[in-house]
Amino acid sequence: MGNNSSLMLQDDEIRMISNETGFSRNQIVRLYSRFLSLDKQGRGFLDRDDFLRIPELAVNPLGDRIVDAFFTESDDNEQKINFHEFIRVLAHFRPINKSKPHPLNSRDAKLRFAFTMYDLNKNGFITRDEFQVILNMMVGANITAEQLESIADRTITEADHDGDGKISFDEFCRAMEKTDIEQKMSIRFLN
């Protein structure tokens, strides 16, 4: 906890974040503590290296894509994430509470965030090339290029319903119906 005033969290900020994201005060304080510990140099923001210092993320084959998705959400070109942006992304992963629905963690919001992790250039479609990049990250050098193409082809063909050779957001949602996306894209935050 440095002396930098930008690292302070005021009470009204907490209330604002709580309304915006749906997290409780305790959850926000704990996530802030986590943010500060990742921000080793006490600059008030996180960059790629700060994320990839987490061992379980660095050994995850898709670690780089996940970090990219964080920076994409934050909407600026500088590759820096402050605490507001950090907690906004994590808000997508709050479990859905049917009695207290919230726009940031609705099923649609979760699917849209998942979609950005596949759609590298944010043009609204997942192309075969984008799929191949992700598959390449998943399997490394253990599969030949032809086999990789074959898997990418099959995935696209099975999911592509309008025959345009790429996957739109609606086709993605339909493909994800079989994997329980609400459970996968939810983290059990403790109170």
């Binding site: 009470d11 987490i54 994590l90």
Partner: protein, 464 residues
Amino acid sequence: MLDWLLVLVRCYAAIILGPVIATTILIICGAGWGPLPHLYVWLLKKALSLSPETYPQPEEEVTNWWPSIIERSERGKLQRHRHGSGASFAFTNVKGVEKTATSDLTFSLTSSAFAAGIEAIVQDELSCCFYPAPVQRWNWLTRPWFALSHAQTAGYLLSCAFRYSVLVPIRVALLVISFMFVGVCSFIPIFYTLNKNQRAYIGVTYCRLFCAGLGLVATYHDFDINRPRKGGICMSNHMTPNDIQIIFANVLSEADKSSTEATTYTVTGQSHTGIIWYIEQTTAKLCSALWFDRADMRNRVEFMNIVLKYTQSSEMDPVLLFPEGYCTNNTRALQFRKALFECSNAPIYPIALKQDASLGDSFWGDDPFWVYLVKVISSWAIIYDVYHLPKMVKGEDESATSFAGRVQHAICEAARIEPLAFDGFLFHKEPERNRYRTQQQWNNAQVFLRVLQSQPDLDELLAD
């Protein structure tokens, strides 16, 4: 006007020099302050219980007071392999591949990887032991994350003034005295050979002065019952480079005081430069010491061989080792280096260190040593509980890995911290992380290869 100034200066000097001289005399005579430091700590903790909370307490009682933020899902966890030193994510173990459509499998596997990554960003097992653990109540040592009222700011500034003008000079004086003490004593062997007991006395007095200079208030449990004996190995969890002085300060038991040949420790550690190098040189004069370079492979092997030789002789003092290999923050314990557990006959004397960080955290992250020392000296107090655990011996058919795990669990239970299945290399060394990532890629490849073998050709799929 000048008279008042003189009176003030004299008072200040008395406040500083009084405790310094009293402590030095007490320690050199082999006595101590008794319950007074504990009373000081108790008073401070009572005062701090009125301080605002900086980290929310969980609703239920938890043994590890630092509560989790999330409950990790089973599928996203990195699990150790039963044999060998690898680990895999649980989601790479996919069943029923043959019956699943390719697109379902692709989306399922990739979305599991994404979910595991996001969970790791919020809470992961390994990196949380390499930064100082958050304290539950604000301890007035640094500015907290919430805004302070005017009264609190004034109080904070006053407490800073008190700590830096009273506590720091007293402690710096004690540290300087401890080094001077050893410096003076190192001239004695020129005239007169010291026997083991005398060297032990000098070593212990130096350590006690040094610990007093750190502001340490330590309670040693069960030392007389579980005293380490010659030819054994002492293992402890590691938090600061000063752990050696803290453990050494209590090495003389009642029995030693009446015997002719005291048992102290054979001190070991990573060789450093700077202030720590000076401390290491000093220590080497007083007791047997082995310094090695962790990065140098050959050096490490030689070091292991020397340790083994020491344990086989009944003359050499028990070797004090820190099998974690890195300093951790006393909320978790890294997996122990198993090379140290290969020697089958040497009994292991586990020592568990437990810190109460509410009045000052002495965990050493990656700041330079002198910055760290200033932080420690300017805190209220460093509170340690040192537990000497009963001796443990490797079983007949027990492997080094399982014996290492047993010792780790014993230490973790006594210190009330969590044992980890991963060691410090995964956090500090990139080649190790690359090795783990390659393993995950291989796992995923196996799943996709099974899909390719079991599913019909793409052409057949498109035929209808």
